[in-house]
Symmetry: C2
């Protein structure tokens, strides 16, 4: 097994051609550092009393209703030993127990990357953006909507690698449905490791697939290194309401045992997997997240976890999920406060929408969802790019429209710096009232860095825009993602490591028959 440090050094050193390609494709944007720091305050929606009441209600749920851990004797035993009341598969906790079990999870942690320059920090004031997770379909303006393939998966990994605004490669960026269900995790993890050098997620769809994912990470980073460093993550969706199944706890335990990270995400559409009113959902989501994080700490104290949530609304006439709604905005703000009081890294937000195409609806919903996620203090924003149709589809055009908006959000998070230069006394003295500021020394000194430059927003005149074909943003985005993809060059990888990865995959694939369900 190769030495992890050497591998990572190699990956970062071989910048030559790949570095050039990246610079070329991103020439019209500003490269963000991988470790992004939010310099603006969070939005505090609720007061102390309201937060106390929601927390107390979460504790009431955990005591009076409890949470079921189905098919996982080990989890039930761990909770029993920790002082919970376990009846059958139901775990009930006295008020305060769940929160106290969460206390050993770190408030923030570092996640290493194949290129050390791409390491991130999850928690504190740091912000991590990753692409969509889970869509079985992809769409673009040329081919329409279709099942996603491994080629699509690789494309999204490549586009994410090239984006200066996504600092996490994601997990199941789309479902490669052309690969058997029980083998696709191997190809997905390989794609993240081979075509990107950013942090990534492994499989959670079965405990052994989680173990495979961790094993592949060990080939690259080294087993010893991973005892002390987090390099891979699992996304654990709770079977809300108030249930964890053994597939999810199996994956959770695998990652926690390996001292790797999980994101514990209650998944609640109000009215279906929880009550229809937001305060109740907040308490439920808080209870479910605490229960999962508590389990991780019972498996391995100090294992690095993220407090997740996926709280949204439904069209209550039809039962269809809805996104970027006023109710979801409010819950996003509130869940951020609940998480901060627990002192854990927060996942929420994302460019969510119900629209099938990257139209006005898509971007209105996505902008609401993303902006509230940012102001809520999210440390980790899933679905930052590409999400369409309630997560069923990843749209290529939406993907590049979203990363442009991610760039805007990152610029906004830099806040306002109030200093002599930004107050521009010299410009006011250079000009007379009525004079324009185009040519002042201050403008010339600052114009290149003052504003975020969108590469998709059209700000030309109506006449220029008409002459250029009256294109919508979606149409302009169609060209953009193709240009990006054509400029992609794979980062280097040590030949021995690559061979070891491919070898591992071949052996695992040979060891079992294809399964398509």
């Amino acid at each position: 097994m190769p030495d992890a440090a050497k591998q990572r050094a190699h990956a970062s050193r071989g910048g030559g051609r790949a570095g050039h390609a990246k610079r070329r494709a991103a020439a019209d944007t500003v490269r963000s550092p991988a470790i992004i720091t939010r310099k603006i305050p969070t939005y505090e929606l609720l007061g102390e009393e309201a937060l106390n009441r929601i927390e107390a209600h979460a504790d009431w749920i955990l005591k009076e209703v409890g949470i079921e851990f189905r098919g996982d004797e080990e989890a039930l035993t761990l909770f029993r030993r920790a002082g919970a009341e376990v009846t059958g598969e139901r775990v009930r906790c006295e008020p305060g127990l769940a929160a106290s079990l969460c206390a050993t999870a770190p408030a923030s942690f570092r996640m290493e990357a194949r290129d050390p320059a791409n390491a991130i920090v999850l928690g504190g004031d740091h912000v991590v953006l990753m692409p969509s997770y889970g869509p079985p379909f992809v769409s673009d303006l040329d081919g329409g909507r279709r099942y996603a393939t491994l080629e699509d998966f690789r494309n999204i990994v490549k586009l994410t690698y090239m984006s200066p605004f996504l600092n996490h490669s994601g997990g199941t960026v789309c479902e490669p449905v052309d690969v058997p269900v029980n083998k696709r995790h191997l190809d997905m993890v390989y794609a993240h490791l081979r075509y990107s050098t950013k942090p990534f997620m492994g499989a959670v769809t079965a405990p052994e697939r989680a173990e495979d994912s961790i094993e592949m990470a060990r080939i690259v980073f080294g087993a010893g290194y991973m005892q002390k460093n987090c390099v891979i993550q699992g996304n654990i969706n709770v079977n809300s309401p108030l249930v964890y199944d053994d597939v999810m706890t199996g994956a959770l335990k695998a990652y926690a045992r390996a001292n790797q990270s999980c994101v514990i995400s209650p998944f609640i559409l109000g009215g279906a997997m929880g009550p229809v009113t937001q305060p109740a959902l907040l308490a439920q989501s808080h209870a479910e997240a605490m229960a999962g994080i508590a389990l991780s700490q019972l498996v391995r104290k100090g294992s690095p976890m993220v407090y997740g949530n996926f709280l949204t609304t439904m069209n209550l006439k039809t039962g269809a999920p809805t996104f970027g709604t006023p109710e979801a905005n409010l819950s996003t703000f509130a869940i951020g406060q609940l998480c901060r009081r627990l002192g854990l890294p927060l996942r929420c937000g994302g460019q969510l929408c119900a629209s099938k195409v990257a139209d006005g609806q898509a971007m209105q919903e996505a902008a609401n969802s993303m902006l509230t996620g940012v102001l809520a203090g999210s440390n980790f924003i899933f679905h930052s790019a590409g999400w369409l149709e309630g997560g069923l589809t990843l749209g290529y055009e939406k993907f590049v429209m979203d990363i442009d908006h991610c760039g805007m959000m990152l610029k906004m998070m830099c806040g306002l710096e109030i200093d002599d230069n930004s107050l521009a006394a010299d410009a006011f003295l250079e000009n007379q009232p009525g004079d324009n500021f185009f040519g002042t020394a201050h403008t010339l000194r600052n114009f290149e860095t003052a504003n975020y430059m969108s590469n998709l927003a059209d700000t030309s005149s109506f006449e220029q825009w008409s002459e250029a074909g009256s294109l919508t943003m979606e149409q302009r985005a169609n060209e953009r993602w193709k240009t990006m993809l054509s400029a992609y060059e794979a980062p280097p990888i040590d030949a021995g490591v690559d061979e070891a990865l491919l070898d591992f995959i071949a052996r695992r694939k040979q060891s079992m028959p294809d399964r398509w369900y």
Copy 2:
């Protein structure tokens, strides 16, 4: 001149057919009260020290550079008497003078409407939304982009009247360019008074047009009534940087003398009408707004003013204005804080965009601009509906897409009510873990009011959406505004009042030759 109270009673009484039409067209939305209260906190971007520094910088601008009041001897005299240093047309103030002159303007005030039920409050925690102001063009999917006409103007007044989410009829909702420049204000004010019963704005393009507008309001409300009640407003755009011209101060003085309201709006694209860095723009905008409000109070102490701003960015390669940008978002938050420290009603936000059509760009930019305006604590949001192409065009489709988003923002401003019902203990006890909440008593009790119901967002399945023609939100909106317009019925008006208004208009039109510039 008819008695104002009688007229207003009459206008509100005659609800019959118009009331029915309104209910029918708005049947899928929730009617908001005219006086809207924000129940969520404002977002506080900057700390005390930063705000102090920007305020001090505004005072520095007012003292060291000063503001020019061009062609208005009366304004210069008023400032001189108030203690300012006046040199030529330049007014310079010692630190603190401008703010102290603003102190007599009310922190909030009521604005009466032809239908008393449509009266609004500007200031405090109250929020007023009005349509776009000023576009010379309109566009829709059928006819494309074209010069606006008086018919378009009336259409927008009618759509605004019908919307449950716009509580102000606006001013120059679009420029009726088929009417001579020196006469169109008469038709515009008539349209607001005849086709709506919501508060509105009069002309500011010449002092005598402001006087005409006020005179028409007197025909409806009564001169005595208007001595003590605000029923009409003027929108005063500052000739930034640091200039007020005599057209604007003439209109400002006319409204202030009549104890009517003005919105004082510095108009600054960073890099053109001010420096390229946001903190400098904030200080400049604050200085300009204070100077205008100070003048209003010198003309008539206590006249009701709104602290406005229009602060946005440019594409610094081309000079084109840009909207909903990260820098504009930040300045919106900060200007809200500066205004609150002055204790005046705040205007900002709006569904601004540079896009030519109601596509993804339009709604992404508009959502950013609107949501930050709401969280900044805006009391008065101009351009809440219809704005395209940097304000050059009012789009019919964008208009109805925007009012849907206004509805979402109003719902969001209601905040979260944390009480026994919203915490839903009974629902958690009724269910077992894993059960869905569709049929719980709590869901059935709350599902009709829990969520805002968009009338334009498509949340159906991909198959349903495809069968319905794969329409974008913009295409669905095309049908929506036509349906609304066809359901419009004019509110009743006293025949004598109507005759007096038409008579006044005819006399004024006859008194002068047409002017087309």
